[in-house]
Amino acid sequence: MSELRLEQVSKTFGGVAAVADVSFAVAPRQIFALIGPNGAGKTTLFNLISGVYRPSSGRVFFADRDVTGQPPHALARFGLARTFQTPQVFLNMSAVENVMVGAHRHLKSGLLPAITRLGGLRAAEKACRAEAAALMERLGLGRYRDAEAGALPYGALKRLEVARAMAGRPRLLLLDEPAAGLNAAEAEEMVGVLRTIAESGVTVVLIEHNMHMVMGLSERVLVLVSGRVLVEGAPAEVQRHPEVIAAYLGAEAAPQPELRCA
């Protein structure tokens, strides 16, 4: 039983292999980190998992169901949520409405209830708004509730994306660099947030360059280099791997947890 499983997944763009022959499995309720240098194919891998790209070969299983080639909205309906490396916030909406969009899969999105406000829509909307506000409160976004999303500072946008993803009550959460661009205090806050999320029973896969965060938070780490799996294992094992040390820190340097790789 695995929450997410990739079997020999490859993706080529015009003959160039962005991701080659990647296989791994994430157990339920695990925090699983994907690391690797820029251009290693981490985000491509997220796009393959979330249905933005279709694998050139290989299969993707979500909760032991083959979901290869399913469009993103179908995967979201199965309970997959994600955030983006550069925040893809709906800037034309208020912050709380952004979060409410995250709950879309639980709401009636038909035309008739929308225009007539019948069929329990009023009550559902009220509950959805309250839930979104509570979620924002939990993520320290309470004061931005009714602000235009476009007016939020960067750190708040990153958290808003996490709140939006959580609003759908997902079973699997993909986080693409949740701490990128955050200062040390904000990053620390984010670690706390992710811990609570994982404790609530959600499986988390994250891409992160902040090694301190990765090593402190995750139970499994997979290192991707040039689209291939270099090593996968517990954080301590991965940190000792000579090629990881070489790839990240230069051959002779010793691993330093505080170091961020470029």
Binding site: S50, V52, P71, P72, H73, A76, R77, A81, R82, F84, Q88, V89, F90, L91, N92, M93, E97, M100, V101, G102, H104, R105, L107, K108, S109, G110, L111, P113, A114, I115, T116, R117, L121, E125, C128, E148, R164, G168
Partner: protein, 316 residues
């Protein structure tokens, strides 16, 4: 003024203000000619509120909505006048026909984005206009055709006063439906698509379905307004079907303010009245619309109502 805007922020408050305007406007309408202008304003506003859902909220351009307007008008005219259908039935059938057509054509067209979508809808509108202008046997060709009056509960609706109240009530209803839609899960989905398609899809929104749905809704509203315009005027010509009318409709939406329902109403009202006020410039109507469109884009890209609201320090 500030207080009025606060009212506008609340859905029912804004609706009450609009109802008040519609109710009190006749006091300042001195004769039938002014009623006529007001009715045309209302009919255009119905089209623009629908078009604004598509363009302003969902972010999908259409340069072919005059085609749906015209198709609704001619279908209703032909069914009621040539085939003797009861006009209300003809009107509903015309709207349904346009809805089905928009559903069938929207599927391939709405895959396109940006300029390509603009070109495709432009082409669609032109094709409809050409068909209507050339099918002389059915439509009377370039000369147009006369249209039977609208009969409601056995009474033929004639005279500007009756029509004024009918159109006013329908506009109010349309605005109410639009506000409900915008503030629903579907409405948020549409705005999310406008904001970021990739994120909207990742949230479980079926983008193709949502776009198609709003395309059909806006086409049906255009068709209804088209049918009503034909029955009201008692006459229809291909002029209202063509490319230029599509551009006029988009100009109304842009001037009033994208993603502002009251903006769409205001834009439709202003640009319906403007040519009447500037009868001297009758020959330059298209030029005036072009200048308005350009000036809006340059000096007031948000459009009239959102810009005014911002100046007042409020959001709409």
């Amino acid at each position: 003024m500030g207080r009025a805007l606060t009212l506008f922020r609340h859905r029912h408050g804004g609706l009450a203000v609009l109802a008040l305007v519609i109710a009190l406007l006749p006091l300042s309408l001195p004769n039938r000619y002014f009623y006529d202008v007001a009715i045309l304003m209302g009919l255009n506003a119905i089209v623009c509120v629908g078009l604004n859902l598509l363009i302003g909220f969902a972010g999908q351009i259409s340069l072919g909505h005059a085609g749906f307007f015209g198709l609704g008008a001619y279908a209703s005219a032909i069914l009621s006048t040539n085939y003797g259908w009861p006009s209300v039935v003809a009107l509903i059938a015309a709207a349904a026909l346009v809805g089905v057509l928009a559903l069938a054509l929207g599927r391939p067209i709405l895959r396109l984005k940006g300029h390509y979508l603009a070109m495709a809808t432009l082409g669609l509108g032109i094709i409809i206009a050409v068909v209507i202008a050339t099918e002389e046997r059915l439509t009377g060709g370039p000369d147009g055709m006369s249209v039977a009056p609208l009969v409601l509960f056995g009474v033929a609706l004639q005279g500007e006063r009756v029509w004024y109240w009918l159109v006013g009530a329908l506009l109010l209803g349309t605005v109410w439906l639009a506000f409900n839609l915008i503030d629903s899960p579907l409405g948020r989905a549409l705005r999310a698509i406008h904001g970021s398609e990739v994120a909207a899809e990742a949230m479980g929104i079926d983008i193709a379905r949502a776009k198609l749905l709003i395309f059909v809704v806006s086409a049906i509203l255009a068709a209804l307004a088209g049918s009503l315009t034909a029955h009201y005027a008692g006459f229809i010509t291909p002029g209202k079907v063509g490319f230029l009318h599509s551009i006029e409709l988009v100009t109304m939406v842009v001037l009033g303010g994208m993603a502002s329902t009251y903006g769409a109403v205001a834009g439709a009202a202003i640009l319906t009245a403007l040519p009447q006020l500037l009868t001297v410039f009758k020959d330059y109507e298209s030029l005036v619309f072009g200048v308005v469109l350009m000036a809006t884009m340059i000096f007031m890209p948000r459009g009239l109502v959102p810009t005014l609201a911002r100046l007042m320090g409020r959001r709409t």
